[in-house]
Symmetry: C2
Subunit: 348 residues, 2 copies
Amino acid sequence: MKRKITLKQIAKELDVSISTVSKALRNSVEISEDTKQKVQAFAKLYNYRPNNIALSLKNRKTNTIGIIIPEIVHHFFSKVIRGVELVANKRGYNVIIGLSNESFSKEVINMEMLANGSIDGFILSISKETQQMQDYHHFNETMSQGMPIVMFDRVVSDIKCDKVIVDDFNGAKKAVEKLIQNNCKSIALITTKDYVSVGKLRTQGYIEALEDHKIMPQSSLMLKIDDQLDSEEHLDALEAEIEQLFKSNKEIDGVFAVNELYALSAMKVARKLGLDIPNDVQVIGFTDGVLSKHATPSLTTVSQHAQHMGERAADLLIDKLEREYDVEEEEFQTVIIATDLVERESTN
Amino acid sequence: MKRKITLKQIAKELDVSISTVSKALRNSVEISEDTKQKVQAFAKLYNYRPNNIALSLKNRKTNTIGIIIPEIVHHFFSKVIRGVELVANKRGYNVIIGLSNESFSKEVINMEMLANGSIDGFILSISKETQQMQDYHHFNETMSQGMPIVMFDRVVSDIKCDKVIVDDFNGAKKAVEKLIQNNCKSIALITTKDYVSVGKLRTQGYIEALEDHKIMPQSSLMLKIDDQLDSEEHLDALEAEIEQLFKSNKEIDGVFAVNELYALSAMKVARKLGLDIPNDVQVIGFTDGVLSKHATPSLTTVSQHAQHMGERAADLLIDKLEREYDVEEEEFQTVIIATDLVERESTN
DNA sequence: TTGTACGCGTTATCAA
DNA sequence: TTGATAACGCGTACAA
């Protein structure tokens, strides 16, 4: 079991100095053709590759991006990762992942671990718990140490950094307007608690769409789901809440749900109550997932272009990493990704 | 914008030597209480953390695991990653990901990139193209340089390394037996081309289950789908093939599909042809996905326990990394993960 | 044309 | 009790 070969070993074998080998391999004009040939042939034979770690230490640059997400078993986040990875690899970077699992402390620990030299910058979406606690010291500390951060999707406006967000507000608004156009008179909202930034924005879009059309938003039609019910294990409880919503508001003929799971659950409950989709109730969800496409009936959704978000985030970060340090002009961008309404069978 | 603080800077500030600082921070008995206090207080104030890269170089160990998968936007693989990440973090390792995107060359390039010092070992599932080409030189080269590999799910028996696989054969066999028990007389198989190792094994399970029950496997009932049709864009073509299968074999009353997508497509086509599920046709799929759970009717599947696979793979790899180099006794394990049949509405 | 010395940040060994 | 030195692997400025 041989170790990876180093410059030193090549130098020793060929009886030249390390720097001669180094230069020869980089095709320096300083070195004679003869030596270059010899060295290069030997290096090729032994499949020499410079050690990344040594290069990172020397250059004080790892060419690695850290990505921290709350959850990976999730189409939205895995699509974002794919986008990041695509751009990162194209531009010569690796991607290292950390999962916060929606926990504040895991988010902090993971970031600290990676920030100690393993990576050049972060791309992240903050955990629900962090949003709830509103404790952002770890982001500020990381940036104050010269490590840039790009936030995506779940961002926090207090933090000064580059951001890539979905146009949640307008996406939601357009979705609800679609329902209104389609003659829905009583449109329910199934959303998250307000501390989830994207949930809040989508809720606002829902409200504004209604108001624009002289429809009075009614709190009885707005169901705000507790996070705890998001996980697969609590599907029943989620469905029970939605069933209650339908039963208390028999006039509901349209549903806008802020994610895929809520939308599918709504359809399931509606069917169970003998309602036909889309004839009795029309449903629109919000997401990028596969569930929508393969549901029965297939679900009309607001597409977030997750992969594109990842690509933009990666470009923003790498641009910043590679920018000549002009001045400390600290200018931060917020890229807004437009949504698309993908119409399927759950609406007319 | 300050950089991360180093031992050298602390030493300079406190006017002691670097090694004194280093020892003081590690609470060495060599250092006086007085100095230790001083140094530790200062380090804490400036939030000193050792540079991972420097440690990696010194220790010739990165404490990072590389994971190469064909595709991340996929429940199975993202669950495996979650399992790997869980164990890795618990044992003090980071996880860095590379996507082969089912391409041989991307797999090779990604591995080379990571193998040059960035990681201590690989956990991977080989790309379809690699399986097709049967070119495994990159795996052997990596291992000959002392970097261990753990393969999972899509493995290749020629390669000597640790492996974690699903019991594809028995999982498939049990699924088909279930259909037989449920009185299906004409069971179709929807599978991949044979070079996909798992597809082949599941096909064999199907065949053996039939033979065990004195049913003659018929090639007309076995549909082998071309990879090209796997992507979301070619759903129509996939469905057309399946429709053809049903039309040519009107007696089909059971379907075993080797993945979730094929199973769902089969259900969709069947319904389109006026067949009721499960009364006219019963369907069983193979996978861990969310699609099965949320499909209508929900799909009976063979569960692979993806997260558990990831955990086992990570443990195998880290065990090997941390084992004292006894002898070169090169013993490799193959862990077989049992499957479970999750019964839902698509079977009686 | 080749080699020496230095530094990236750290720890271990040995000397003072 | 403290400090100097070497080493991990590399690239480069400078000396020979």
